[in-house]
């Protein structure tokens, strides 16, 4: 270290922390003081080495670990059950469209409830002209012509 007693000031010059006026004064002093010049050379060499070494690292991947440990940004994933349900729903819609246009259904008025109430609920019926053969099994329905419950039970 400088035996001139200015090590800390010289250090501030080397790191750029010293005010310009002080830096100029100390550099001028170091021109004539071998000890300070020697010290300043070392300090500036060390600073240069540390600076050259800095900034070479790749660290972007570390945030994920910090976030998970701190509960800051939980990974945004859909729950598997929800994904499965959505996929199943999409598949049903797609299959339904491909197979046939399903005739529109309407809920029957309670006054027109058929005997099939005992088998299925709710009770539905098709618009006029819709073929009964297209009706899905297991769903309450009613054609324009009432279908007896015994017929449905036989299916």
């Amino acid at each position: 270290m400088s035996r001139c007693g200015r090590t800390q000031q010289l250090e501030a010059v080397a790191t750029g922390e010293a005010p310009v006026a002080l830096a100029t004064e100390l550099r001028a002093h170091a021109q004539h003081c071998a000890l300070c010049r020697h010290e300043l050379n070392w300090l500036e060499s060390e600073t240069a080495m540390f600076r050259q070494r800095a900034g070479r690292d790749e660290v972007a991947h570390l945030w994920a670990g910090v976030a998970s440990r701190s509960g800051l940004e939980a990974p945004r994933r859909w729950p598997r059950a929800l994904v499965a349900m959505a996929a199943a729903a999409a598949l049903l819609v797609l299959v339904g469209r491909v197979e046939s246009p399903v005739p529109s259904l309407a809920v029957a008025g309670t006054s027109e409830a058929m005997e099939s109430d005992a088998l299925m609920s709710p009770t539905l019926f098709f618009e006029a002209g819709a073929p009964c053969s297209k009706l899905p099994l297991g769903v309450g329905f009613q054609c324009s012509q009432p279908v007896p419950a015994s017929f449905l039970a036989s299916r």
Binding site: M1, Q52, R53, A54, D57, V59, G65, R69
Partner: protein
């Protein structure tokens, strides 16, 4: 009214010019984007500091994540909002020391055989840290005890003031100065042959 002011502060964009102090306050108020900005600002330094202490990249990666996780958990305790970096490096040093306990081959204490003679100085303009010199530089750092290395790195690599190092390490100011002085002399003695082209 205070809540409105806090909301307004939160909506202010975070830029590279936003000081650490403001980011710390916003992070303390629960703004995760502010903490992430602090992370992005300091992660390179923390990771390098930990790699220098632990001398193993994968350990340094894990310790870096642990350091920031602890910082996040303890952030409410930080009252000197403008002293985030020294505080963070203090946490990093503790994390490194904990990780080091499981490693037996590290230098815990070194012999104080620091050279007393004036070591010839290099020309700072010709110092080029190529791969070979960096290797010697890393070796020279590893010769130092972990505590002394931490103090030297905080000063030379991370630009902390002596007072900040004393606070981060829990040392007296005199101890910090003495440790850094001795660390420097050892570093220089180790590096000199490689800087001047001589070989030991």
């Amino acid at each position: 009214m205070t809540a409105v002011l806090q909301l307004l502060k939160r909506t202010q964009p975070i830029t590279p010019e936003t000081p650490d102090e403001a980011l710390v306050r916003r992070a303390q108020a629960g703004e995760s984007a502010a903490f992430k900005a602090l992370f992005e600002r300091h992660v390179v330094a923390v990771r390098r500091f930990l790699r220098d202490l632990l001398r193993q990249s994968d350990l340094a990666d894990d310790a870096t994540q642990e350091t920031f996780a602890r910082a996040h958990a303890q952030l409410v305790k930080l009252t000197d909002h403008d002293r985030f970096k020294p505080w963070l490096l203090g946490i990093a040093r503790n994390v490194a020391f904990e990780a080091r306990r499981v490693r037996q081959h590290d230098v815990l204490e070194e012999e104080d055989d620091v050279p007393d003679a004036v070591i010839p100085s290099p020309n700072p303009e010709s110092v080029l840290l190529d791969a070979e010199l960096e290797k010697h530089f890393t070796e020279a750092l590893s010769v130092l005890s972990a505590n002394r290395r931490a103090a030297l790195l905080m000063r030379l690599d991370h630009g902390l003031a002596y007072e900040e190092i004393a606070a981060a390490l829990g040392w007296s100011l005199a101890t910090v100065k003495n440790e850094i002085h001795r660390a420097r002399l050892k570093l220089r003695a180790h590096l000199l042959p490689h800087l001047t082209g001589e070989r030991p």
